[in-house]
């Protein structure tokens, strides 16, 4: 299935990294296992957003909503119903995807900044409902102590589960990006008018992209519950949406794995600088300013550029 669309070297590197991370838990302190797992969850969220922002050119400003909807759905299913666990785990992404379909259906009627503004408004509406509806969602207290099956009973087991789901999701996202759907999406990013002129229904294509992206955001939401066993309204707050948007820019939004790097940097900063000062976002701000001036293509974009001078030369010579 992947034949021809991945470079052998990057594939080997990814597999090696995956095995290394899989073997890690017994050898590192519990705290680091937790931070790594949190990075994986956030990475998947940022990757799902980047499908829209980096590859689709859509200003999905309030993406955290779908993460929150996924997380709340699974938390509610597991605390308030007697459904089997796997039903809850499936319901999370599906509910997120449904929310994406409804909100997206309105948003794709607008373009660029107007798309973003409407997306923020509709998303904030969902946040307000979750925040206020004490009886059902627990309001600002959220829901705590979500029961997990024995298979996910310890932190290390949750770590393995999260890592494996992340790896599978990234493979799927990669396939999707390299599919006809993915290349058409990138064409829409570059030039929506021309796409319409070659027979592409731009709105429908964008809506499908939103549905796919919100599905993966829902998976990230489920993984968050697996890790934390609790949910709270901050998961749907616009501040988190802004953070993941920054992760995409930071990592490199035109690259495939850039958002993973962006998520790792942001979560690490929040954790390790956050120990010393609650104003860790100040450091993030400075980094962002430097980034805009020196690495406009993001950290990953920059790395790829210095790693591939030869390929570029060859392309230049042919011209």
């Amino acid at each position: 299935m992947f034949k021809g669309i991945v470079y052998a070297k990057s594939f080997q590197l990814a597999v090696a990294l995956f095995i290394l991370l899989l073997l890690l838990p017994p050898f590192v302190p519990r705290f680091y296992v937790y931070i790594l797992a949190l990075i994986y969850v956030t990475s998947l969220l940022a990757m799902s957003l980047n499908l829209l922002v980096g590859h689709g050119g859509m200003f999905q400003f309030h993406h955290a909503v779908f993460y929150g909807v996924g997380a709340y759905t699974v938390a509610l299913m597991l605390t308030k119903t007697r459904m089997p666990v796997w039903v809850g785990f499936l319901a999370g992404p599906i509910a997120a995807m449904f929310a994406g379909l409804v909100i997206g259906w309105f948003c794709v009627r607008l373009t660029r900044l107007y798309f973003g503004m409407l997306q923020i408004s509709l998303g904030s509406l969902v946040w307000a409902i979750v925040f206020r509806w004490y009886r059902f969602t627990g309001g600002d207290d959220g829901i705590h102590g979500v029961p997990m099956p024995p298979l996910l009973s310890s932190l290390n087991r949750s770590y393995y589960f999260i890592l494996i789901i992340l790896a599978l999701s990234l493979m799927l996202l990669y396939l999707i990006l390299k599919s006809p759907f993915g290349s058409t999406l990138q064409a829409i990013r570059d030039n929506p008018d021309r796409c319409a002129a070659v027979g592409i229904n731009v709105r429908r294509h964008q809506l499908l992209a939103i549905v796919v992206a919100t599905f993966f955001a829902g998976i990230a939401g489920v993984l968050f519950v697996v890790l934390e066993r609790s949910v709270f309204p901050d998961l749907l707050f616009w501040v988190l949406s802004l953070e993941i948007f920054i992760m995409c820019l930071l990592g490199g939004w035109f690259t495939f794995a850039g958002p993973v790097l962006g998520a790792a940097i942001t979560v690490a900063l929040r954790t390790f600088v956050g120990i010393y000062t609650e104003y860790w976002t100040l450091i993030l701000g400075v980094i962002l300013i430097l980034l805009i001036f020196f690495l406009p293509e993001g950290v990953m974009g920059y790395l790829l550029e210095i790693l591939k001078p030869r390929a570029k030369e060859a392309a230049g010579r042919r011209e």
């Binding site: 669309i5 999707i176 390299k178 290349s183 058409t184 990138q186 021309r194 229904n201 011209e319």
Partner: protein, 244 residues
């Protein structure tokens, strides 16, 4: 094949197209000429659905297409290139054309098969027929202006149109490039059985390759005739020589 009858389009108070009539028969090469601002590009935008007409009829193969969105019109068999280069700058040359081919084959929504093994032959054959085969892997935004204009046409061919509309295909090209491009267009019309509607400022080209010429002036159609008849028409001479 294409009938445009009494089409009107205004922007606020300005009537950009004010009574345009055009007939294009199957297999013909038809040119639209007129001074700058005569409404040629607006007329093309109306035919391909980028703009909606205020009045009048646009019939393609007997069907009224004037209220359809651009992607529907494209699927009925009309493809176009743009006057100002309008490509996908971050994609490779190959991918630029492939997007159109995928759309033509209705595979744009395919989520899980690798795109690089779909529609490859078709895309490659288009690139070869138009002389860009060697540059398939280049990023489209890095091509020279002349090559980008050729790529414009290649993207349009990806849709396998019956009617190809070219809006100033040689704008900004050197005289040599212009000659080569016009040669190419004629060759495409012959080998692919395309019907071509185009506009162009170089009168020598227009009169040498088109079977029928429509003259526009201030949004209005003056006449549509064979080249010799157009050359001798008084109104046309006035529009071009006097008054402007």
């Amino acid at each position: 094949m294409l009938h445009v009858e009494g089409v009107v389009k205004s922007f606020d108070d300005f009537k950009a197209v004010n009574g345009a009539n055009l007939v294009v028969g199957r297999g013909e090469i038809v040119a639209v000429i007129g001074p700058n601002g005569a409404g040629k590009t607006t007329l093309f935008n109306l035919i391909t659905g980028q703009l909606q007409r205020d009045q009048g009829k646009i019939l393609f193969k007997g069907e009224d297409i004037s209220a359809l969105p651009p992607y529907e019109i494209c699927h009925r068999g009309i493809a176009r290139s743009f006057q100002i280069v309008n490509i996908f700058p971050r994609l490779t040359v190959f991918e630029n054309v492939q997007v159109a081919v995928l759309s033509q084959q209705k595979r744009s929504h395919d989520l899980f098969s690798p795109a690089q093994s779909i529609a490859v032959e078709k895309t490659q054959s288009i690139l070869e027929s138009i002389g860009l085969a060697g540059k398939g892997k280049n990023i489209a935004g890095s091509l020279s202006h002349g090559d980008q204009k050729i790529l414009e046409i290649a993207i349009a061919l990806g849709n396998e149109p019956e009617l190809l509309i070219l809006d100033e295909p040689t704008a900004g090209m050197s005289p040599e490039e212009t000659a080569a491009t016009m040669e190419l267009i004629q060759c495409l019309a012959r080998t692919r059985g395309l019907t071509i509607l185009f506009c162009e400022h170089d009168m020598e080209i227009v009169f040498s390759i088109s079977q029928s010429i429509m003259v526009m002036h201030q949004g209005r159609t003056l006449i549509q005739e064979k080249p010799e008849a157009v050359r001798q028409n008084k109104e046309v001479q006035e529009a071009y020589l006097g008054g402007e």
